[in-house]
């Protein structure tokens, strides 16, 4: 056992570090670091720079642009990206629909979509959750009825992240109403421009437009947009969710945020000095840092084991990463909120009330509160932490 990187891995880390910090525009990275929202253009710009180097989809099969990296290289790549506050390539494209099409799609679908997905020429969103199907995803009701060469889709999806930018949506739909829950679900690709689709924004509590409801009213979808076999969609969804959970711990993001908190604490006046002079605050920060270090090693253990196990099935240990990783992400936003102190109350930045005549000394404090509010989602999405615990209890402990 040796937890240190090999010389090759260290060289790769340095290469990734330099790339992310020199090639991705600083203003985009600053927005990520400060927890401000990114525009569609920011996302496209960043992903295309990565794709130009062949780094948008390194985990894909080689013939579709993958890199054949070791799990440790992939881990280093993701962590360096997060540490540099580079936005991850659009998850719905690169970690969800892309791998599903590559694994289960037909040749025509691969040729039509994969290169465009990697380059963010097509923006994809996810149509899984429904108002009545959240944690209990298999109870979804949106149905697709075959009529000649089309499916007619009716129903509603919700929590559709960044659906307002999307060109395409991949959906789980019920194609066999008679079958039991998980059976009878299919995975289909729908062009968002198809008549009958309505997108309604959901504004999240910090005031941003990040998620949507998507309504389907007699939407005609060509049968060629079915992925794999009819009624096998649940298997593909499980494959996809396993992908979603890889890297969900966001260790690099929490590390980057802690580094920023330290910087801000050194600047924030408190008592006769700054927040950083306060031993109790430093201890609270250290507690989070220590847990994060432990989780980092846990993540590396999971990564190292990935090379040796059947990668088509999710590793239940990834649920540990999800639970602890989300808790630590939230803990960092609580520290940030604490540094902002009384100034977190003010929301002058997002409301546009800030002008050059009225600089607010702590304009970052506004985004800190927003981050704290917004990050409550990380223990809810991607399978809530309660669901993750059920998975561990069942799959790991056999309870």
């Amino acid at each position: 056992m040796d937890l240190r990187f090999t010389p090759e891995e260290t060289a790769f880390r340095d290469e990734a570090r330099t790339f992310f910090r020199t090639e991705i525009p600083a203003e985009i990275r600053k927005k990520v670091s400060e927890g401000r929202g990114l525009s569609r253009d920011d996302m496209v710009t960043s992903q295309r720079i990565m794709n130009a180097r062949g780094w948008a989809v390194p985990h894909w099969p080689k013939e579709w642009g993958g890199k054949d990296w070791t799990p440790i290289q992939r881990y280093i790549y993701t962590e360096e990206m997060l540490l540099a506050a580079v936005p991850l390539p659009l998850q719905f494209n690169c970690y969800m629909v892309g791998p599903v099409i590559a694994a289960f799609g037909n040749q025509a679908q691969k040729e039509k979509h994969l290169a465009r997905i990697a380059n963010l020429d097509e923006w994809w969103c996810q149509g899984f959750s429904e108002p009545g199907a959240g944690s209990d995803l298999a109870s979804l009701k949106t149905k697709a009825v075959r009529e000649g060469e089309h499916y007619i889709v009716n129903g509603q999806k919700t929590w559709t992240t960044l659906g307002q930018h999307a060109d395409w949506i991949f959906c789980l739909v019920r194609t066999d109403p008679a079958a039991k829950k998980q059976a009878g679900i299919s995975f289909i690709l729908i062009d968002m421009k198809t008549p009958g689709i309505t997108v309604r924004p959901i504004i999240t509590l910090e005031g941003r437009h990040e998620v949507n409801e998507v309504f389907f009213d007699n939407v005609k979808v060509p049968v060629e947009n079915l992925v794999g076999e009819e009624n096998k969609g649940w298997d593909y969804a499980k494959f996809l969710l396993a992908n979603e959970r890889t890297g969900i711990a966001r260790i690099g993001l929490s590390k980057e945020r802690l580094a920023r908190i330290k910087r801000l604490a050194r600047e924030m006046p408190a008592g006769d000095g700054t927040m950083w002079d306060d031993a109790a605050f430093r201890e609270r920060l250290a507690e989070v840092e220590i847990e994060l270090k432990a989780l980092e090693i846990t993540q590396m253990r999971v990564v190292a084991a990935q090379g040796k196990r059947d990668s088509s099935k999710p590793d239940p240990a990834s649920s540990i990463l999800k639970i602890k990783g989300s808790q630590l992400q939230q803990a960092t936003t609580e520290l940030l909120l604490e540094v902002a102190g009384p100034f977190a109350l003010a929301a002058p930045v997002r409301s546009g009330d800030l002008t050059n005549d009225w600089p607010f000394d702590y304009d970052w404090a506004d985004a800190s509160a927003a981050s704290y509010f917004n990050n409550r989602k990380v223990s809810i999405y991607g399978g809530s932490n309660e669901i993750q615990k059920n998975i561990i209890a069942k799959a790991v402990l056999g309870l």
Binding site: E338, G341, F343, S351, F373, K377, Y381, N385
Partner: protein, 382 residues
């Protein structure tokens, strides 16, 4: 020992609960009121005055109704439950509190009737960019002149500072930045020459302002209390503020807990209500325990806020804030988690409760600040 309300107190509670329910019957109604020019409804404020709520803590001689901490507790709890936007805390408890506790007879006569009638709104301008939660950390100055005093400096995050007619301002007449002596309080008209007020929304849908004072001349009679003796008054005001916020927090948490329990009973997943899962039942119980701990501390605050031993009183109110803050955090976070995605949305009332609870935590001192004060006092008196 008696935790029951007197008939008059019950009547007040029913009245204020009804008033709040009629103004804040739905989230849509509240969000509409928040968009009014002042950030709240002028008509709503007038109804507060009609009901006598704005005169509660002032004595009858001052033109008020001679209510005590329990009456304030009842009002604040109702305001919390309704997520009311009116500047009750800013005007009656903070600004009005400073005048009540330290103002001269003439000042009280001049200001308090206006507060009680709803025509005068006040705000307390005490936070500075370097002060965090330390009331004595004051850089703004008041220089004595032949005409009175000249104010220079800036105050940050002044709650309802943009709708107030008068600002109660802490400024140094002597001493250095963190000296306890040498701070004076002044009642400054918001429209005085040299006062610049820049309002903006707060995270919880309320209003606050950055306020700058540049060569602002006020007469000597504008001073609240003695020259250099402002801090003890400010500290008293903060104690009343903590007691009031504790009750507001209880109202918010009560309502949010009820919403959450209701959601557990109605949300269907896996073939039944999610309340069937014991793990969620226990979480709702933990929330309840946190609410009840806070409710007890709000009662303790009402009892201790007029306690004569200043050191014991200060430690007690800090203890209240610690417990209330902890309850706010647990109840707020758990409510969102148990709701899942819906708890994250602007269109859901629960999310607004969560935001208010988060902001209550940082008003008049966060958990660390007050834990340290209790610790420095050697804990609580037996």
């Amino acid at each position: 020992m008696d935790f029951d309300l007197s008939p008059e107190q019950s009547q007040l509670k029913d009245g204020v609960d009804r008033l709040i329910a009629s103004s804040y019957g739905s989230l849509e109604a509240r969000q509409k009121l928040a968009k009014e020019p002042l950030g709240f409804s002028k008509a709503g404020w007038a109804r507060f005055a009609e009901m006598g709520l704005l005169g509660i803590p002032f004595s009858e001689e001052e033109g008020g109704f001679g209510g005590g901490p329990v009456e304030t507790l009842l009002v604040m709890e109702a305001l919390g439950r309704g997520l009311a936007l009116e500047p009750y805390l800013a005007t009656v408890v903070l600004g009005g509190g400073a005048v009540r506790l330290g103002g001269s007879a003439q000042m009280k006569e001049r200001v308090i009737p206006g507060i009680v009638e709803g025509t005068a709104r006040l705000a307390l301008a005490f936070t500075e960019k370097q002060s965090r939660y330390d009331l004595f950390d004051v850089v703004a100055t008041a220089r004595k002149t032949a005409e009175g005093y000249v104010l220079e400096g800036a105050k940050s995050v002044v709650i309802h500072g943009d709708s107030a007619h008068h600002l109660v301002v802490s400024a140094r007449t002597a001493g250095r930045r963190r000296d306890h002596d040498g701070i004076s309080l002044f009642l400054v008209p918001a429209d005085a020459e040299g006062v610049k007020i820049h309002g903006y929304p707060t995270q919880d849908g309320g209003r606050a302002a950055e306020v700058a004072f540049s060569g602002v001349i006020v007469p000597a009679e504008a001073m609240i209390g003695d020259e250099g003796g402002g801090l003890p008054i400010l500290e008293r005001v903060a104690e009343f503020a903590i007691a009031a916020l504790a009750s507001e927090a209880v109202g918010v948490m009560d309502a949010l807990h009820a919403l959450t329990v209701d959601y557990l009973k109605t949300r269907q997943q896996f073939g039944g209500p999610i309340a069937q899962f014991q793990v969620l039942q226990h979480r709702a119980v933990d929330m309840l325990i946190a609410v009840e701990q806070a409710r007890s501390m709000a009662a303790y605050a009402a009892m201790m806020v007029d306690h004569t031993d200043a050191a014991e009183r200060a430690a007690a109110l800090s203890a209240v804030k610690v417990q209330v803050n902890r309850s706010c955090r647990l109840v707020g976070q758990e409510a969102v988690q148990l709701h899942g995605g819906i708890g994250m949305t602007m269109e859901y009332l629960g999310a607004h409760y969560f935001k208010r609870l988060t902001m209550i935590e940082s008003l008049f001192g966060d958990t660390t600040h007050h834990l340290r004060r209790v610790s420095a006092a050697g804990g609580l008196a037996a």
